[in-house]
Symmetry: C2
């Protein structure tokens, strides 16, 4: 701006007025406006966002911090959030923590240092001191997919209890009595809720889970667990798997055991599988509205940033995809 001002023998202020679109407000002459604009164009002026953000104490950027970018669920959420952010003139930075608490903490700190205007988080743990302090410090943030205990932070999540109940009901309707549950760690809210919804529905029908396996939500761990499960007698006739990786691991184990879906064993998994119809077996899933989740999360965050009143959170409805 200084350079432009010098060339044009104007003050940087005038140039600023023009280039920030406040020319009219300051009654800058039409001629001056044009000259400034042309010169800015000619010199390839690019406003320094850093300086601007620094001055305004506002960076017009927010970040989405997720645990696993290789999970289609999260890439879906990321894309939804990004679209919404873009539509509101914000930039969304996507950060991957690989589900490690320490990395999550570091990432959030780093983002705070960078003075992002807000965060969309999916915390690894139910209760985290550093998040409490974040909240106290007043950094705007919202949660996706997972809640925090005892911390009134706006959230967007799928009704996991209902989703799991739908899954259970589907299996029960198909006549299954021995249904096993394989889910992730209890410290993660989604798994808690899915387990709760599952058992509740079984209970309504006077059934007990044929087995309850709580494992790390990785494909390999799931495959291992299900392998053991399949060897037991009597073998469960159906599985409910708690997330996409567990579903995949289970399919792997079933396939390795030379069994078949749904003849030998039936399976319903939480999270939809991309291109599920290319899989060897038909897998019914509980699908989440990923795009809507991302968009809604950003919308909530924007409200928090602008200091508007925000509803406590949004619950999205899951959808059973029967295959």
């Amino acid at each position: 701006m200084k350079d432009i001002a010098e060339k044009l023998k104007l003050s940087p202020t005038t140039v600023s007025h023009v280039l920030t679109g406040k020319a009219k407000r300051y009654r800058i002459g039409d001629e001056t406006i044009k000259r400034v604009q042309r010169m800015a164009e000619r010199m390839g002026f690019q406003s320094n966002h850093l300086a601007r953000a620094f001055k305004a104490q506002k960076s017009h950027s927010v970040a989405l911090v997720v645990g696993d970018l290789t999970n289609p669920f999260w890439t879906g959420v990321a894309i939804g959030a990004q679209r919404e952010a873009e539509a509101h003139g914000y930039t969304l930075f996507v950060c991957n923590t690989e589900e490690a608490l320490e990395r999550e903490r570091r990432t959030v700190m780093m983002l705070q240092e960078r003075r992002v205007d807000g965060l969309i988080l999916s915390p690894t743990h139910l209760k985290e001191d550093y998040l409490e302090s974040l909240h106290k410090q007043g950094l705007p943030f919202v949660l996706v997919d997972r809640l925090l205990e005892d911390l009134p932070v706006p959230f967007v999540l799928t009704d996991n209890v209902a989703g799991a109940a739908m899954a259970a009901e589907h299996l029960i309707r198909r006549g299954h009595k021995r249904i096993a549950y394989i889910g992730g760690p209890e410290r993660i809210m989604t798994f808690r809720d899915r387990f709760a919804g599952f058992t509740k529905k079984l209970d309504e029908h006077g059934l007990e889970p044929a087995a309850v396996l709580t494992i790390d939500a990785s494909v390999d761990d799931a495959a291992e667990a299900v392998k053991t499960l399949l060897a037991k007698a009597p073998r469960p006739t159906a599985l409910f798997t708690g997330n996409i990786w567990i579903t995949m691991g289970a399919l792997q184990a079933i396939q390795n055991a030379g069994l078949s879906v749904p003849q030998d064993i039936d399976i319903v998994g939480f999270d939809d599988l991309p291109r599920a119809n290319l899989l060897r077996y038909p897998v019914t899933t509980v699908a989440q509205e990923v795009d809507a989740m991302g968009r809604e999360a950003f919308r909530l965050l924007l409200k928090v940033i602008n200091g508007e009143k925000v509803e406590r959170g949004t619950l999205l409805k899951p959808r059973l995809v029967v295959r």
Copy 2:
């Protein structure tokens, strides 16, 4: 810093000296150092990265701009780049352009405004004026997976010609004579190279492609194209598909036509398929080293940023995964 200084009746300068770890250099007293550190701790001081970057004209952040975050190839590259960036104290921002030129341009501009220190790009088009100007302006950037025509920018890419040749050779060895090629737009370098490698290998064996289909690299377009292809007589006995989406679309079409792999038709696809063994059909693929690609891209970029001499680029070897 000012607040800390006031509380301690010191100057901001001294506080800065301590908090940036330059205390020794400036011979700050041990007592003072401790007092400053304790106060910083107590007041929850967080250095303002924005101000710092502003002052230093260096943001210690870089961005990766890719077209399709739903593609496992790109998430793999992103994670590799992110790890390497983190290891060097940099932050990587991941930006998704959904393969739209206009969005790509906007994104890059935005990042430039934000004064990121460098970019890792995968341009939609072979030749782009705005990238030329970017280059002239001296913004450090490197390319992944795709090159630019006539612009000497460091790159990392898989040897696509060799990869495609491996695929063709594999099919030829299995006795196929009528092999069709289905690839993406010629304006994208990867597809050009893959086509070149494919035809070259066929040529060596005195064969001609049974068909050459150039389509949008989407699952649906591929399925449509392959559907038509399968209806032709004589039907090709094998397919070489140019990327992951095309492979998936082809599988879709094959399945819909009631055909089977490899009995009715054989297929080798570029890009590995995640959890390929869960698919209905065994699909041999040409796998790329995604993690290495991301890491190497960041390493190259860092060299450019630091003004070191940089090799012209890195060519990674593809790997045939026979299934």
